[in-house]
Amino acid sequence: MLEDYFRQYGLIAIFTAIAVILPGSLLVVSWLLSFLRIRPSKPNDVKRSPYECGMELIGDRWPQFNFRYYMFAILFVVFDVETIFIYPWAVQFKQLGFFAFAEMLVFILILVIGWAYAWNHKALEWR
């Protein structure tokens, strides 16, 4: 079993380790170097702004977002969950045969009604 794991997840583990260690160690090294005075520390307003070389910031940190974002989020979650059901079906599509195909058709058709409902009530439009 163990070799299986390494074959399948070894790369992911190595990738994750590098992704954590590399930026982490850079931060630590930079912090350590500041003690040796190798890394200068001369803060000013421009440097301390969130986007040093980007747009000027406008407005509050916490603006009111349009609540329509929420509609999209809800629809996204629902159809994401739908994907969960389609995924195993797709994996076994050939073996499962016509019966499962019909099943999935019904499943999706029912959700199409929800989609049509959202469309009909202009939830998909940006106003």
């Binding site: 019966f99 009604i113 049509a116 409902y117 009909n120």
Partner: protein, 495 residues
């Protein structure tokens, strides 16, 4: 899966399709008034299928037809609840017509969600598998959450949020309980759970095993939430008060009926081996629910809140029947506990619906749910007042009403199961409940009205009122036929 499987599923299937048709019609049609009619007339399809299935059952040797890979069972028990749910839906839709016309543009959603929820309840009564049970329970609850928040004022929104959070919580607890059961038995099928428990229980531990101990308690907690039993009742008053009144009516009877259907099936079939353990649990919950519900109801000024606490108390009365499992011990003895529950559920449904329908009609006009606003209704709305008074008498359990017969069956089942203490608690509680129930009648007849304007009721709600009032009277005088059917229905629980 064959065509026969689809036929077995046809009541649920046609009901869910009806919900979809209503939603689609709502998108297409301009005149929303049609939707209520479509919802009621469309119920004829599941009704026809259910009647046909009931007829087919007589040809089956063991009184049941199992389909869709053992996840669905058609027996008289599940059909009994199908008829009950359909009746409740039809009546609630009829009584909603006037109320919902205020919503103008969201009537399709209102009726559609109600039908989805009803299809979930039907499925709940007809599954023999824990996974299907869970999904059916979600199908029952989720549309009701949306409906509870449907008015979108602050009360209604609060009701929706509380309902959503607590039902999610209770679902989680329920699932954990099911997981433990599955972990212990290795199956989600109720019948197989029963068989495997028989082989693997340890008599020295309560509930036969530590895992089952925790699992069963968690399952009871999860279901207890749905039937509004203490200590899982926190959501009830706020949701009942904030939700649209027809939805409150629907919630109080249909949701409760479905909850008891699944409790009876899961515990009597799945956990039959450890019946004495959970029967004690239900007996205690029953006593606590009755007492807490009735005591807190006394202080209520809002009639919806009062009925919310009354519904908690009635959940307690119903659990008396669930706890009366020892009634099955003597051979040939009647199966009075569960069949009494079925009778009580129908009696409670007609009674509570009658009360709520009268309240809807009155508060539609007065715009208030306060008990004080019912002053002088005996003069302003003699017809509504008499039906409300009659329903309250039935809730209280005075003959000749359905409520009286229901309590009679409950208490005699408890006596047969050596639960005399529970009967005493129940009788004392009935006496306590008289205090707050009769207060409403007193306000209606003895206090002077605030205005003289008469209250008129539209045609459809009036019909619903007549049907429920007749039901209370008929069940109170001729309980026999329904009881016979209930006896037949619960036979599948005792095999």
């Amino acid at each position: 899966m064959t065509l026969h499987d689809l036929y077995l599923l046809s009541p649920e299937l046609s009901l869910a399709s009806l919900g979809m048709v209503v939603i689609i019609l709502d998108m297409v049609l301009r005149r929303k008034g049609v939707l209520a009619a479509v919802s009621v007339v469309g119920l004829l399809a599941p009704l026809a299928f259910s009647i046909s299935l009931w007829g087919d059952l007589s040809g089956e040797p063991d009184g049941q037809m199992v389909g869709i890979f053992n996840t669905l069972v058609v027996d008289k028990f599940s059909l009994f609840f199908k008829f009950l749910v359909m009746g409740i839906v039809a009546l609630v839709v009829m009584s909603s017509v006037e109320y919902v016309s205020r919503l103008r543009q969201f009537q399709g959603e209102y009726y559609g969600l109600m039908l989805f929820s009803a299809s979930g309840m039907m499925l709940l009564a007809a599954t023999t598998d824990l996974i299907s049970t869970y999904v059916a329970l979600e199908l029952t609850t989720l549309p009701l959450v949306a409906l509870a928040a449907f008015l979108r004022d602050s009360r209604s929104t609060e009701a929706g949020i509380k309902f959503l959070l607590l039902s999610a919580m209770s679902s989680a607890v329920l699932l954990y309980g099911m997981t433990l059961t599955y972990g212990f038995t290795g199956t989600t099928q109720l019948v197989e759970i029963f068989e495997r428990l028989g082989a693997s229980l340890d008599a020295t531990v309560p509930f036969g095993s530590h895992a089952l101990f925790l699992g069963v308690i968690m399952i009871v907690a999860g279901f207890g939430f749905k039937i509004a039993a203490v200590p899982f009742q926190m959501w009830v008053p706020d949701v009942y008060e904030g939700a649209p009144t027809p939805i409150t009516a629907y919630l109080s009877v249909a949701s409760k009926a479905a909850g008891f259907a699944i409790i009876l099936r899961v515990f009597y079939i799945g956990f039959g081996e450890i019946s004495l353990d959970w029967a004690a649990l239900f007996a205690v919950l029953s006593a606590v629910s009755m007492t807490v519900g009735n005591l807190v109801a006394i202080a209520q000024k809002n009639i919806k809140r009062m009925l919310a606490y009354s519904t908690i108390a009635h959940a307690g009365f119903l659990m008396v029947g669930v706890a009366s499992i020892a009634a099955r011990v003597p051979v040939g003895e009647t199966t009075l506990g569960p069949s009494g529950v079925l009778f009580y559920l129908v009696a409670y449904a007609v009674t509570n619906l009658a009360a709520f329908f009268a309240i809807i009609a009155i508060s539609n006009r007065t715009g208030s749910d306060m008990i004080s606003s019912f002053a002088g209704m005996g003069r302003r709305a003699p017809f509504l007042a008499i039906i409300l008074a009659f329903a309250i008498v039935s809730l209280l359990g005075i003959p000749p009403t359905a409520g009286f017969m229901g309590k009679l069956y409950m208490f005699s089942a408890a006596m047969k199961s050596d639960l005399a203490w529970l009967v005493v608690v129940g009788v004392v509680n009935s006496a306590i409940s008289a205090y707050y129930y009769l207060k409403v009648i007193r306000v209606m007849y003895m206090v002077d009205p605030e205005g003289e304007e008469k209250i008129h009721v539209a045609y459809a709600p009036q019909a619903a009122l007549y049907i429920t009032a007749l039901g209370i009277l008929a069940l109170g005088i001729f309980p026999g036929p329904l009881m016979t059917v209930a006896e037949k229905a619960v036979a599948v629980l005792f095999r």
